[in-house]
């Protein structure tokens, strides 16, 4: 069975659920911008959109202090090893959001003759949530973070609204 890096060997039932609840509501993203999407990531953390409402606004410059990596932008072949190194430096449990089409699949820069980019962050590191857009609006990133919360805890803020809509 394939296991995600950093997955614990022993599971502790209720305690783990409580821990996951805490983790999901205080995700610390890394200040890690690669290109255009980084600006929308900054905008999501700034005055109007205010990621802090969801506990995810504490951007940390060091990977050692983070548990969420937002891959925001095109990964060039020169940058690829650095992305992997940064992911490996993060302490487990850790999650990854691929923000923007470049991080999902290479976006507009991927075509047969392209020599310079890695088409997709999931070729390098495991990705949990994909946020499409070029660049995604800050609302998109916020929804991505809420989806990640749902993935971590199994119950999310979004699910309530989705059930109500159905």
């Amino acid at each position: 069975m394939e296991k995600k890096t950093g997955e614990p060997l022993i599971h502790l039932g209720v305690l783990e659920e409580a821990l996951n609840l805490a983790r999901a509501n205080s995700l610390w993203p890394m200040t890690f911008g690669l290109a255009c999407c980084a600006i929308e990531m900054m905008a999501a953390g700034a005055a109007r959109f205010d990621l802090d409402r969801f506990g995810a606004g504490v951007f940390r410059p060091s990977p050692r202090q983070c548990d969420l990596m937002i891959v925001a932008g095109t990964i060039s072949k020169k940058m690829g090893p650095a992305v992997v190194r940064l992911y490996e430096q993060m302490p487990a449990p850790k999650w990854v959001i691929a923000m923007g089409n470049c991080a999902i699949s290479g976006g507009p820069f991927f075509y047969p003759e392209m020599y310079a980019i890695v088409p997709g962050a999931d070729l390098l590191i495991p990705v949990d949530v994909y946020v499409p857009g070029c660049p995604p609006r800050p609302e998109g990133l916020i929804e991505g973070i809420l989806l990640l919360e749902e993935k971590i805890t199994g119950r999310g803020r979004l699910r309530k609204f989705r059930n109500a809509a159905e």
Partner: protein
Amino acid sequence: MLERGLEEKFYVLNLGPQHPSTHGVLRVELQMEGEFIVKADPDIGYGHRGHEHMAENRSYLQFLPNLGRVDYLHALAYNQCYCMAVEKLLELKVPERAEFIRVITCELNRIASHLLWIGAYLLDLGAFTPFLYCFDDRENILDLLDRVTGSRLTYCYYRFGGVPRDVDDDFLAGCKAFARRLRSRYRDYENLVNKNVIFLERTKGIGIISQEQCVKYGLTGPMVRGSGIPYDLRKCEPYSAYPLFDFDIPVGSTGDIYDRYMVRYREMEQSLRIIEQAVDKIPAGPIMAEKVPKRIKPAPGEVYTAVEAARGEFGIYLVSQGDTTPYRLKLRVPSFGNLSILPEIAVDTLVADLVAILGSIDVVVPEIDR
């Protein structure tokens, strides 16, 4: 690359590629003696996306969205430069109303770029509050531009021969309202930043660039104006509708970081003046040139056009061989020239000052790497 193993007493420090103050993925290899920098060597290429190569593979119109992603902070100036180049090849005359719309949107985008720079730069220096203030103001511009262009950041609004969508009265009124709002915020910026002792201590007299160095390294934009040379393409080589407006070029005197900050800060006011005049004087009429060919296939020839972007002179050298794709497209980007001075001015400074200097250059890394 630095020579390794020669000087044991020097300590090599890597700044980047992931570093909060490199604004993207720039790596600077520093050779240090204690806290002081002996040699700084920028290593670029971490954001290389092959824009120029893409231009040779795509039709003229298909390449247009790329320009919004070369420099995503002042995307509209880049759009404008490319449109001007193709219009020059096709010998199209852009209607006056379209030129006015271009000037208004381009200047709004310039203010957004400067606001983001001020916010992000002060974040580098350790001040968090101005970042929130600047982004608050910037969101107002993005709302205005969102109305007409349909996107928040990587605009692709201009077309060859004009603009595809007209602006309405609400947009023009919104521009005036924004000008009033930003002016009312100057007092906050003055109190928060311009009179802040920590900010003054960290910027005055640091990273001085002389006028000779500006010319030697081909610096443009606020870098060269901060040193006292009033070089602005909007005045020196007027394009679009800029000759019709009355505005000044702010210049600094000593060429330190503080002067470059003040140049950008005062440029926002000048952009507001241009916007207000353009909104008052905007003529009625068509927004697209007549007889724009459906299939863009310019006659063989080569052109160079340049615009004043927020970071300096942005130029496009375009060669056509009478095909539907450009034969060669060279982007002359301001950040590349501006960054080239870093190894010279970084010598004998502290690491903390290097962060301040690097931020004051206002580099956009995907633009350098293209």
